[in-house]
Symmetry: none
Subunit: 414 residues, 2 copies
């Protein structure tokens, strides 16, 4: 079965409001086994609404409209649907009573426009709104269902959770879509696709869906099945192959974040971490403390931008800086080893690079980053080459250094 | 003229990714005087793409498609458009050279799929992508224009800003909407609206547009005019009123960021800044170094999560921590004064708070944050009370501390 969303509102089209309703509905419906195939945003314009509703009802079994149910003049969805379904508006006494209660409870004066919110199309089933004054409406036509909901996100979500998710599942007798996501970092989308070409072909041959979902620093791979949880072992098998092929890149599943994964590994080992950062300016530390409870394994960090503070705070030898420069293997090694001692931690990440957009030299162009991790009995170093976007370079470096720590922690364990 | 957006990607339909591209494009086109009338999201499905593109080109003069240009098999936009425009793919040597450079510079192996990204439809004008490997495409048909862009937001924005906004404006000979934006921090949207109700009414009475654009930590107020630059003095007058009414909250104009504003003030004074952070974990330092060239006024910072490091690195008296706790006026004062000396800076920001979601106590509930700024001859402190969302608390604290520094710098000057 196909579902379709229609979002109504000028504020969405001119980018004043981001359409989070559509993504929430898409995600909730997917979990009910209902695939949203189209999602259209239009303005509060009668002709556009009539055209889009008609097109949607002709190709989709379920159409959900959000927005345009407010009490003001520019909210015309209810009147337009009344016309489309060739019906009339009638005051519903139950809804009117609820609206009156709503205003009485809040000590606010009730206006004529609010009374009119109880006038609802005769042809629809009214869906009660316990979070506001605009009722939901459930229409049926030629076997398809059209649901109209208020655009205010918490009212819309309330109506869906209170009544509609259940009602939709029952009406269409659907089975939830099953999907799992594996998370990779430090490997580009295209390299991943090439490496896993055979794997991908085998997934598609089994009629499973595969999506590459890249965002700065990571690529998520999602496998989905319309057959439901029965496919779980198959999907797990595919994920196990990736883990075995790319252990240094696969860092987690579903909603895991790299700082969370590292936090769990550190907690398990009873170890602590600190950082000595230059070009990331505390960004790695900031990522680590984004995890609730990180104070157990994170005690502190140093940001040493200047040569002077690299020496004073982290104990880097001035001669090293003089000879090799701040962005060098030798300097990050001394930053990590010195920081480990000063901060009194088990693992110390250090970073020094040319974030850009300026400051590059022929042998150290913008995007050159050195990183190191000091641990009991040693220090490992790594160099990465990034692009010329400062913000992105900082973000990618944070990911790369955290993944380097993850790999160190895993190697130590095995 | 009418414009239409088509976003391609299953991840948008099932709600795994929020469609921020559409809102960014809607907002940018509005500023060029172009109104987006429809915005459709569809999956990577050939028939859906063909149908939607055809419908869009029949009703809109400008159609922008995002997504589906990646190197993997599920990215079919380019092939589908090649079919729709009845043309063929040809390797473009310039694009191929750029892709080869892209991989060479990053020291990464170039794959067959990447070479194929240089194969582009003969019938289109190629729009160079300086931020990735998927080129933009500009097609024309019966007087309408269709532009295909990669879905990765920073690549899409790069193509628009580098070439397309200008090219679109020239091609359609549109008149940009004149607008100016003033930036406020530390005051909520509804409080701002309440405080400025009369101001707002006077703006609207002059037929000017007013938009409140809130994001975590700040609210942008944009006034727009269809009459063009002639309205500039009027808009400036309204902004001057706000500046005078809320000098502690207005921190800049247009694309200013708080770290940039502070950077300019520090450069002007020839002063330096450092931070000693607890709950923000280096986030304030990270914000400061987001500005290119910040190394002139930022030398380094300390993140002192544990009692021990507060004492060892920043010189906080253990008795102070014992008596008042880490989240206290006394502790942040000693952190700031101690940090100022250790880091050798003119201004030192210190922060200690309960970011949550756990760790609150009856007298210091989650969201309690103390901050201080040490300067020559003194130290000022401030307490703020936030909510229970850790990420948001950290973000809001970063803004609040930077704005506190801004106000200190302005007071010192006057």
């Amino acid at each position: 079965m196909k579902a379709e969303l229609i979002s109504i509102g000028d504020e969405l089209l001119i980018g004043q409001t981001i359409n989070t309703n559509a993504s929430w509905l898409g995600s909730e419906l997917a979990l009910q086994g209902i695939q949203v195939k189209w999602c259209t945003t239009i303005s509060d314009d009668k002709e556009d609404i009539l055209f889009t509703v008609d097109q949607a009802l002709n190709r989709s079994q379920l159409v959900i409209i959000t927005g345009g149910l407010g009490p003001t003049k520019d909210d015309i969805t209810k009147h337009t649907l009344t016309e489309y379904f060739n019906t009339e508006l009638v005051i519903d006494p139950t809804v009117l009573g609820k609206i009156q209660d709503y205003f009485r409870l809040r000590g606010r004066e009730m206006l004529e426009v609010n009374t009119m919110q109880a006038a609802l199309p005769k042809a629809c089933t009214i869906i009660p709104n316990n979070h506001g004054t605009a009722s939901g409406m459930w229409f049926e036509k030629n076997g398809s269902v059209l649901i109209s909901l208020p655009g205010v996100p918490y009212e819309m979500k309330g109506l869906m959770k209170d009544y509609l998710l259940e009602k939709i599942r029952t009406h269409f007798n659907t089975k939830a879509l099953y999907h799992k996501t594996i998370l990779t970092t430090g490997i580009g989308e295209s390299f991943l696709a090439e490496t896993m070409a055979d794997w991908e072909n085998r997934i598609r041959a089994l009629d499973l869906g595969l999506a590459y979902l890249p965002s700065p620093g990571l690529v998520k791979l999602r496998i989905s099945s319309y057959k439901g949880e029965a496919d779980a072992p198959v999907i797990d098998g595919f994920f196990k192959e990736i883990e075995e092929k790319l252990p240094q890149h696969v860092f987690g599943y579903e909603n895991d974040t790299l700082p969370e994964v590292i936090g769990r590994l550190l907690l398990k080992e009873g170890k602590t971490v600190g950082t000595v950062e230059s070009c990331t300016g505390g960004g790695v530390a900031n990522a680590i403390v984004s995890v609730p409870g990180s104070s157990i394994y994170f005690q502190g960090s140093l940001t040493t931008y200047s040569y002077e503070l690299k020496t004073k705070l982290a104990g880097v030898n001035p001669a090293t800086l003089e000879k090799f420069g701040a962005v060098s293997e030798e300097t990050v090694r001394e930053m990590a080893i010195g920081g480990r001692e000063k901060l009194g931690v088990d693992y110390c990440i250090s970073i020094s690079g040319v974030a850009g957009p300026d400051g590059g030299t022929p042998d150290k162009p913008v995007g050159t980053v050195w990183m190191a991790i000091a641990l009991a009995g040693g220090c490992i170093t790594k160099k990465i080459n990034l692009g010329d976007n400062r913000e992105r370079n900082i973000q990618m470096t944070i990911f790369a250094s955290l993944n380097m720590l993850r790999n160190v922690l895993l190697t130590k364990r095995s």
